[in-house]
Symmetry: C2
């Protein structure tokens, strides 16, 4: 068995290096879209909440999810929850929500590959010998979806994106434009957050 959900070359180019986690995220994204019966998001209608945080490895998964789903950080469709888990909830307002997570047994089996010996020594992915990298990528392609992913329907998941506005004002101190939601007031004048001295 080899998965059909292998990332296109451009997804690796976007990501910057070859590693197993970008493809795992890509596959998770494709399976979640299939589950919810949604197409790749062209505009602003599909949301993903990856549970990764900072200061831990394997976050590369999230670039694969962006590549597969089109629910990108730039389109304000993706936000990490900072739970430190290799999981994500996928939400479409009209199609519902589903959570995918990596099964511990899969993570344990994958953790035995030489790739992680290098990573734990602090060697960056682009500097690991290519055969070592390709070995673990190929192995993941050969695993079944069922061995890799736990899938949970989330019928009660609620999310409403904030209402958008094109309104903006010029900061009275730096002269730069600020979108209205972020305009603050100081000495009676409109200012941006950095000029205001306020934290947010």
């Amino acid at each position: 068995m080899t998965t059909k959900n292998i990332p296109p070359d451009w997804a690796f180019e976007f990501h910057g290096h070859r590693c197993p986690f970008m493809p795992i995220g890509y596959r998770m994204g494709k399976l979640a879209m299939e589950y919810l019966k949604v197409e790749r998001e062209q505009d602003h209608g599909f949301f993903v909440f990856p549970e990764i945080g900072e200061g831990h490895p394997q976050t590369c998964m999230v670039d694969g999810i962006q590549a597969a789903t089109g629910a990108t950080y730039g389109k304000v469709l993706m936000e990490k929850t900072f739970f430190g888990k290799l999981a994500a909830t996928f939400h479409h307002p009209h199609k519902g929500a589903v959570r995918f997570s990596l099964k511990p047994e899969f993570m344990d089996a994958m953790g035995k590959f030489e790739f992680f010996v290098y990573r734990k020594k602090g060697v960056e992915p682009s500097q690991i010998p290519l055969p070592v990298v390709e070995e673990v990528i190929k192995w993941t392609y050969e695993q079944t979806d069922d061995f890799m992913f736990k899938i949970e329907a989330k019928p009660d998941f609620k999310f409403a994106p904030v209402k958008g506005s094109f309104n903006k004002a010029k900061c009275s101190l730096c002269g730069e434009y600020v979108f209205e939601r972020y305009v603050r007031t100081k000495d009676g004048n409109p200012v941006c957050i950095p000029c205001s001295g306020y934290k947010r």
Copy 2:
């Protein structure tokens, strides 16, 4: 004059639609890399802090920055500041930092294009007639860097990414793995944040 910093086709595919802001971000990213003399980031060594927030338009810029720089959200190299401004600070630990922002005059001139009549009516980018979209993209390609971008050296900019660890534990309630930084304790047992009932 036409800029050399036009995004490759895959950057549009990644982004999901054609619009002027993804290319503007791509160009901003390429110019910032040139300014700092850094190559596209393969691994985890170049950081970008876009000043956009939520509930406002033109955030698409950030997907262009990801595509240009390789400082992706998935590699934990990018974090929005939520200032509601079309600007970003680019930081390389050994090369320094620079802030690029869109000049108000440029934003005013661009705002006159028909593309924004559609956007303000709520028409999604993929649904706007292609000639209307291409008109404004082409116009941005023809503008000079100087007309578009304000550039500020940031010699005092400080940022230190958190120290990473591969350590993880199984949540005693759901059985899923959690990276150590996010393990919490409840009734004396290790738990993940969602099972803990704590907010973070």
